[in-house]
Subunit: 511 residues, 2 copies
């Protein structure tokens, strides 16, 4: 008879009111007390490191259209042959040793400043979708209005510690200027840390210039306020735009997220160990470059690894092999002593249905248990990243809010052991009125804001809504309740003027 | 630019045909190579054991309406005071030491015989729902026709290694006779191992008598062919029906699943450590009873622990605290050296929506990583267990099929390392045509049968179906394709006659 008809106590409305009145507590980032889960022995990890070194030594990386980078690699001891850069065994690892094992990324609101690195976890929204989807309008090209909506929703969502970067592509703006609007929207509409442009080095420079106005040049010189995403062109290639942008950030002591983006089977071998080897090699090349440009510049080791359907070639998410890759890569990053980024709530589904949720959870829970430090794509990702979903954003962020209770570990204090409750409670009698229960009432058990745990009858009476409908009302309510966080007016005017001047200084272009 | 537009290779139809033609490979149960995930130190586990011993010593367990059990406990050294049974420190643990650390449960088809215990995993369908739900008919009371449908679907589902027990309650049959139809349906409609009745000791005896006809008395005397679920009446109580049924099975050397069913906050304290302590104490009392009745009888340590909403009192699933309880209980079971049961795909949602999938995955992945040996409720559970869902069954079973690829661990063989592929593949060139890719094409990457990984355009062209619609077609197709597994005609006639005789021997009753 394993089923739970449920016990419902009275005073529900009163409690809900009290709950609403209670301030939403927010921690700026999470601290993990649980040990990360390991799937590979020390021997196995060393084997992958050995193989990655061999790969860097024999194949090396191809550097596309970026002679200056090739020259930097050569100056620091790499073997260069045309555009091919090979690393003598051990070089990449020894260069990376100057990178910090963790660093602070400042937000304009100090209460939202985060520490990126062990044993911490920072959640950021999904990144880079050209489309958006909501229940009312379906799927459509993203605009700057959508971008601003997601910036506002991020501001309103305590489980998201970080504002992310390209919340969606504002395709209504010219390609060569939209980064200015994106960065400015991050500055204006939320006060959490955020990411800069990486689509061209001059756009990275624009980003740096803008945060110099916001934070002051002196502050920027010694503090990271940007964390920007550079993707490798897997396999084993880095191009001018990504690496050139990384150089701009590193030179300015701003953080870079160095991430091979790999769909195993297409951009890497079909095995977990093979993909891990290649990811390590590519990431090491990128991180080493940042350290060559500026020793000590903060870098994050990123791994985005999923697989493809060997039947159709379509990308797949939430499958077991990428989860294993994630566990392996997190362990390799810890051995390199750099912060690690991976995972998120990923799915190939077009809509937030059962498939989307299962695939998302099957990526996100390994993300948490692997000990990832920075999680891009925590909320919103649909359709293999092509679409940012409004309802998906809310549903994922809701689930992300449970992580704090998980990584906090088991409370073994006297209160956690609950001896008095156990000893004092007679067999067969429920604990609802037990003093220990009442004393822990407020904090016991994580509570979803979007799940429906009511009885069938209550649920039907309320309209038999599914998760998507509840999430739809939820994001609209948040946007209604949104208030712009305070920003110094003079500073805002100064940045506005800077952006206007910059925009006027060169013609629009769609490249 | 983290998104995956996807690469689609040609010859898709041909490949799908080849795939369909290929025999579905089935392993009778899984073998875990990964180490289980631990959330509590040795010290923490010893503390919970210490507290559980204290609970058994000071509070003890209340034995409802079962003087014979009280006498057995007393004879074996327990302190008895009326119906209260207390265990001198260490007694329960020393009595349980006679239980096997793993055992074989035989199926009538030897290819489906399972081993229950480390390092193995056995998946069984959900158990005990009085309602069923499907997309066409909505939610309604379950009938024996539904029960038979789920028995057939289980037979057709390789990811389910075990037939389970009360697949749903056939409420169209008299309460005091429906166990006969359920057990006979298990015998007839699938050939996997299954569970017996526990609603009354005489129904447990009926179950034993039926399998004696099926397997022969001699075989039964020395081999477990039944694994039956006895739930405690938490907190700290055991009743006549469950314990009496357990006694029948133990006396016949059949296996019992001893499971406290706990919604923390209601039937246990609101903390993880407190609930773990109580679960351990209750389970030890039940397992000790089985060993007192028949030393060496196979038992499985079960834990069903979820929590309630402290706001509404409603049961909740897929929350972080039950996941932590699961990890803790699995570690405690390993220390007791008995097989462990917990987890499943649990949810409070009424329908298979985003909430249902996320909550299910957030229970099921910890189930797998904790190292659970027997998983009831692997497929179908909806609405806190009140409803068995046809579409949910298919979706969960599909996800369960991924576990083999996960628990197999990382392949570090030469083929797994893929050195030749890595070294031989030029930078920037995809691996789709790489000899290593082609050589591993058939086995690389787990493949969902229900996920849609196609492009938006393909998906829309095919009708924009969500997961539920695909699963709906899937269970109907399986029922269409179902073929009854061969059963000796004389034996079937003998059991039919036995059941008919038994049914005629006492009047119908709804108690």
């Amino acid at each position: 008879m394993e089923q739970s008809a449920g016990r419902r106590s009275g005073g529900r409305a009163a409690r809900q009111a009290a709950r609403a009145a209670r301030a939403i507590e927010s921690v700026p980032f999470l601290t993990r007390r649980l040990e990360p889960y390991q799937v590979l022995s020390l021997e196995g990890l060393e084997m992958i490191e050995h193989n990655a070194d061999m790969l860097l030594e024999t194949v090396g990386v191809e550097i596309g259209n970026y002679p200056e980078a090739v020259r930097i690699f050569a100056e620091q001891g790499c073997d260069v042959e045309g555009t091919r850069v090979r690393f003598p065994r051990g070089l990449a690892r020894s260069v990376i040793a100057t990178a910090p094992s963790s660093f602070v990324q400042h937000a304009r609101n100090p209460a939202h400043t985060v520490t990126i690195g062990d044993p911490h976890i920072v959640f950021a929204p999904a990144y880079g979708s050209p489309f958006v989807r909501d229940l009312d309008g379906g799927r459509r090209y993203a605009t700057i209005a959508d971008f601003i909506n997601f910036a506002k929703l991020t501001q309103m969502t305590p489980a998201l510690h970080h504002g992310g970067g390209t919340l969606c592509e504002p395709v209504d703006l010219p390609v060569n200027k939209r980064h200015l609007d994106m960065v400015f929207s991050h500055i204006r509409f939320h006060d959490k840390p955020f990411m800069g442009s990486v689509t061209a080095p001059e756009r990275a420079q624009d980003t740096v210039d803008m945060v110099k106005v916001l934070f002051g040049e002196d502050f920027i010189a010694n503090n990271a306020v940007l964390l920007s995403l550079a993707n490798a062109n897997s396999p084993m290639s880095w191009d001018y735009n990504m690496l050139g942008s990384a150089k701009v950030y590193a030179e300015n002591n701003q953080a870079c997220l160095i991430t091979p983006f790999i769909l195993a089977g297409a951009m890497a071998p079909v095995t977990v160990a093979g993909t891990a080897t290649q990811t390590l090699a590519e990431a090491m090349a990128g991180m080493a470059f940042c350290q060559m440009v500026m020793p000590g510049a903060p870098v994050v080791f990123g791994s985005f690894a999923s697989s493809i359907s060997m039947q159709s070639g379509a990308p797949t998410f939430g499958t077991p092999e990428p989860a294993m890759m994630l566990f392996v890569m997190a362990a390799l990053a810890r051995r390199l002593k750099v912060p690690f980024r991976s995972g998120g709530n990923l799915t190939a589904s077009k809509i937030p249905d059962y498939q989307a949720a299962y695939e998302s959870a099957a990526t996100f829970l390994p993300t948490v248990l692997a000990g990832v430090n920075f999680v891009l794509h925590t909320a919103g990702w649909l359709e293999g990243g092509l679409t940012m979903g409004y309802e998906k954003f809310m549903l994922d962020a809701d689930q992300a809010s449970m992580v704090e209770a998980m990584v906090g570990g088991v409370d073994t204090s006297d209160n956690g052991q609950a001896i008095d409750a156990l000893i004092g409670n007679p067999p067969g009698q429920h604990f609802l009125g037990n003093p220990h229960t009442l004393a822990n009432f407020e904090t016991a058990f994580w509570r979803s804001r979007l799940a429906d745990n009511n009885s069938l009858e209550q649920w039907e009476e309320a309209g038999s809504e599914d998760s998507i409908s509840r999430a739809n009302r939820s994001w609209k309510r948040l946007l209604d309740q949104y208030e712009k966080p305070p920003l110094d007016e003079a500073k805002e005017a100064e940045i506005t003027e800077w952006v206007d001047r910059r925009k006027a200084s060169f013609p629009d272009s769609d490249v």
